[in-house]
């Protein structure tokens, strides 16, 4: 990014918006951002690489007579911006007209959140602590990759409708990925990680469920198939719960609403999940952008209130296309309310089933049907966690699983983007 523009994103955005108006667009959105990242990477249990990257992005949306085109570039010098605007003009002219195309209007917000400067010494200290923790508490685990990083993003989005959104976000993040070994045998790989606003105050290893995951991995080198077919229950860890929520959130968004494949299209106000489930946004979380991609400032939203679906989440385009109310949401920043059952009691309530940490499966169908292998998982019999499982498959329907949640743990894992409890779900087919 040219140095004369990096410190003045709003001015750059204003300049490009004016240029687009002069070019003839009758609607426009300009988003300009700059990102700096520092990242300390571990390979095979040892510090290996220190990265520092700077990148810039300009994203343009151009509307002309109901037609729309988008473009993105990484440079903000005048010649590059001219080329982007001219290319966008060429693209928009041939797009089909669609009355649903529009840009946001009247949105105003400015948000600064989190540490804006990286403390690379703190990153190194935190990673050293993770490596020491692994050596002491999970020595059979090989961290194929791990990282501790800091990201700082500044952005400014303007629209021809008068929206002006600015933010400066900073956050730290960490991820561990690896497997455990015992001689020639190895566990399945697994990973954990999350975002936070600071590294001080508490050790990094236990955060985001990383320590629990690594210790469970060490216990799962030697596995056995479940060996029989039955209908039983699963206790899903927060990582597995995230798979269910990913499907649900997808079904509430644009494409399945527009093409009519969403099973929730007419379900607002109805019981879409167990009354034990309440799902709401979490907009102040580390790394969570407070604006939507189509330049709306996000307001808090409750998607499930004790199981009742409160709204769908079409974008501005999806809303105008379908006639459904517009609800702006981000891709991350969700919270399932904790329940009243301790995690151990969730497990104790399973006569026959499994504690499931990772669902390895094809993409569930639009109807929610799925079958998948449960990885990094343990058998449960008579309320007791037993051996680690291999080659064990469960099948069911994600929408039905959300309705069949029979208990929600009091404990939750906070990964920044998600705060999720353990869930017990009945009625899964094991094979």
């Amino acid at each position: 990014m040219a140095t004369d523009t990096v410190n003045d994103l709003p001015a750059t955005a204003e300049r490009v918006l004016a240029q687009m108006r002069r070019r003839g667009f009758d609607g426009a959105q300009v988003s300009v951002s700059r990102q700096r990242r520092h990242e300390l990477c571990v390979a095979h249990n040892e510090a290996s690489l220190l990265r520092s990257t700077q990148s810039g992005k300009v994203q343009l949306v151009g509307l002309l007579d109901g037609r729309r085109a988008d473009t993105e570039g990484s440079e903000l010098d005048a010649d590059s911006l001219d080329a982007l605007v001219n290319g966008l003009w060429s693209s928009v002219a041939s797009a089909p007209q669609d009355a649903a195309n529009a840009v946001s209007a009247g949105q105003r917000a400015s948000v600064t959140r989190g540490p804006q400067q990286a403390d690379t010494a703190a990153l190194a200290d935190a990673m050293r602590e993770v490596l020491d923790w692994r050596a002491a508490h999970a020595p059979s685990v090989m961290l194929e990759e791990a990282l501790a990083g800091h990201t700082q993003i500044e952005s400014c989005a303007l629209t021809s409708g008068g929206s002006a959104l600015q933010c400066a976000l900073g956050w730290y993040d960490a991820v561990v990925f690896g497997m455990a070994r015992d001689g020639a045998a190895s566990s399945s790989f697994n990973y954990a990680g999350g975002n936070c606003h600071g590294l001080a105050g508490e050790p990094l290893a236990p955060r985001f469920g990383m320590a629990d995951m690594l210790q469970a991995m060490a216990r799962s080198v030697h596995t056995a198939p479940i060996g029989e077919r039955f209908v039983g229950a699963v206790v899903l860890t927060p990582r597995a719960v995230a798979s269910l929520l990913g499907w649900l959130l997808g079904q509430l968004g644009d494409q399945p609403l527009i093409d009519g494949s969403s099973v929730y299209r007419a379900a607002v106000g109805q019981a879409a999940a167990s009354p034990l489930l309440t799902l709401r946004s979490r907009l102040d979380a580390p790394g969570v952008a407070p604006f939507s991609a189509d330049a709306f400032s996000l307001a808090p939203v409750t998607l499930l209130d004790r199981g009742t679906l409160k709204c769908l989440t079409p974008s501005l385009y999806g809303s105008r296309k379908t006639g459904l109310p517009h609800v702006a949401v981000g891709s991350d920043g969700w919270d399932i309310a904790g329940g009243t059952t301790p995690r151990d009691a969730l497990i104790a309530g399973v006569a026959r089933g499994a504690l499931v940490d990772r669902l390895s499966m094809g993409r569930p169908s639009a109807s929610g049907d799925f079958s998948g292998v449960i990885k990094n998982s343990f058998v449960i019999r008579d309320g007791q966690v037993g051996t680690a499982l291999s080659e064990t498959m469960i099948s069911g329907n994600v929408a039905q699983m959300l309705r069949d949640v029979s208990a929600v743990s009091t404990e939750r894992i906070d990964t920044g983007g998600w705060v999720l409890p353990w869930l017990r779900v009945e009625g899964l087919h094991f094979s």
């Binding site: 390979a43 797009a95 494949s261 390895s360 291999s390 094979s431």
Partner: protein, 453 residues
């Protein structure tokens, strides 16, 4: 470049990445995006540690010295983790320019008009569909690499794909889908996605969709399956390819202790091709990787025996094997990792009809949505189109299911390999970074687990 650097310690890359994405849903152009990203990166290896830095590619290249200095400083900063003897990284040097001779790219107007034509044709021909989607994508990488060993290269990846999805309803009113993808080298002008070319594929997909309206659940458990070529390619990439990436081997993937041992039927050979297959360029031709290593083919399985792994310079040094040119970086701001290129199981001798005729009770698996595998070679693929095989003949369509198993057990069970080769490069491989790869294979007949009732 700093005078303190010795040979083989610094690589500098200028990387431009251009993409097009267009999605038309029922005549609505819901995505009409063109992107360009340019960046300059440097990576240094000092005292056993790596440092990497990147920045947008400024006009005139004035930031080159700063980016190189930052990379060097980052490598040195890791000295706080203690002294580490540097690995004897293999010496590599490649000088060359990779060119792509393709057709003149289509204009945005040309793409929009053809999408509208395809949508209109589908609407008229298949009035009962709930929805029709066409996704176009192309992607072009140009990487200029200079290394302190004298390497000086331009590498290019140019690929394009067209994917269509037909959405209908099953007999109970639930949504069902069938999709198809065409992919190739070059731009969207080099892949034939004209109506003439797509019409027979659309008709066939529509027939499958009608069959899926009355699909039955698969029987769960161990089954005899005929994997159509796209699934065999996925098996090659996901289930055996990843465990043969040398960084996974060093981590303890089960392949680590199996070199030289049988891990598949003698009918199975598997290769990660660098840039050429059967005398023709592969879909993702890699002549030199992003460390400057000239790329060569890696034979991972030779007639059932595990014979080799894919390497970066570092993993080659750690395992005392030659580098293979598998160190690849996806974006201008990514460092090279060990990645696959064009991974395939080699063709055999049987026709698809012969393979089906040899199954008394099993399934033909035609399409997969996605796949995952892990260090144990245990894999899971979503199967989005399948049919029963009863008495050597195709039967009813099967609802979406999942194929799983140990790749080693499955490959050992292979008793027939098809003679028709199919290559595809439509999606991405994910491993910290995205990566453009291709996968290929013939049909296979094997035993594996299906999810179901």
């Amino acid at each position: 470049m700093s005078s303190t650097l010795t040979r083989h310690e610094l690589e500098t890359r200028e990387h431009e990445l251009r993409k097009t994405r267009m999605l038309m849903v029922d005549g609505n152009l819901t995505l009409n995006l063109r992107t360009v990203e340019r960046g300059l990166s440097a990576r240094a290896y000092v005292d056993g540690y790596w440092g990497f830095a990147s920045a947008p590619l400024a006009p005139g290249g004035a930031d080159r010295d700063r980016v190189q200095r930052d990379a060097l400083a980052n490598a040195r900063a890791l000295g706080r983790f203690g002294t580490r003897p540097p690995l004897p990284l293999p010496e590599v040097r490649h000088v060359g320019r990779q060119q792509h001779q393709g057709r003149t790219p289509l204009t945005p107007a040309g793409c929009s008009e053809r999408l509208a034509e395809l949508q209109a044709w589908c609407k008229k021909r298949y009035p009962g569909l709930r929805s029709t989607r066409f996704l176009l994508g192309d992607e072009h990488h140009a990487k200029k690499l200079a290394t302190s060993a004298g390497g000086d290269s331009l590498a290019r990846i140019d690929r394009a794909a067209c994917k269509f999805t037909l959405v209908g309803e099953d007999s109970a009113g639930a949504p069902i889908e069938v999709d198809e993808i065409l992919s190739g080298r070059g731009t969207l002008a080099d892949v034939d996605w004209s109506l003439d070319a797509l019409a027979p594929l659309l008709d066939r997909a529509h027939e499958h969709l009608q069959a899926k309206r009355h699909a039955v659940a698969a029987r769960g458990g161990l089954q005899t399956v005929v994997l159509a070529a796209p699934l065999a390619g996925m098996l090659a990439h996901e289930a055996m390819g990843h465990p043969c990436e040398a960084d996974a081997v060093i981590s303890g993937a089960v392949t680590a202790s199996l070199l030289g041992q049988p891990i598949a039927s003698e009918l199975v050979s598997m290769v990660d091709f660098a840039h050429t297959y059967d005398g023709q360029p592969t879909l993702v031709p890699v002549e030199v990787d992003d460390e400057g290593t000239p790329a060569r083919d890696v034979v991972m399985i030779d007639r059932g025996i595990l014979t080799g792994f894919m390497h970066s310079r570092e993993t080659a040094a750690r395992l005392e094997q030659p580098p293979t040119g598998n160190a690849r970086a996806y974006s201008p701001h990514d460092e090279p990792l060990v990645r696959m290129r064009n991974t395939a199981i080699l063709p055999g001798t049987q026709s698809m009809d012969e393979m089906i005729a040899g199954v008394d009770d099993g399934y033909l698996l035609l399409k997969t949505g996605n796949g995952q595998a892990d260090s144990t070679t245990e894999f899971t693929f979503g199967v989005t189109l399948a049919y029963e095989i009863r008495g050597g003949k195709l039967g009813r369509a099967v609802r979406n299911t999942t194929l799983s198993g140990s790749a080693i057990k499955v490959l050992k069970s292979v008793d027939a390999v098809g003679r028709e080769m199919h290559w595809e490069s439509g999606g991405y491989c994910g491993k910290k970074q995205l990566m453009v790869v291709s996968m290929g294979g013939p049909a296979l007949r094997a035993r594996a687990h299906l999810g179901g009732e």
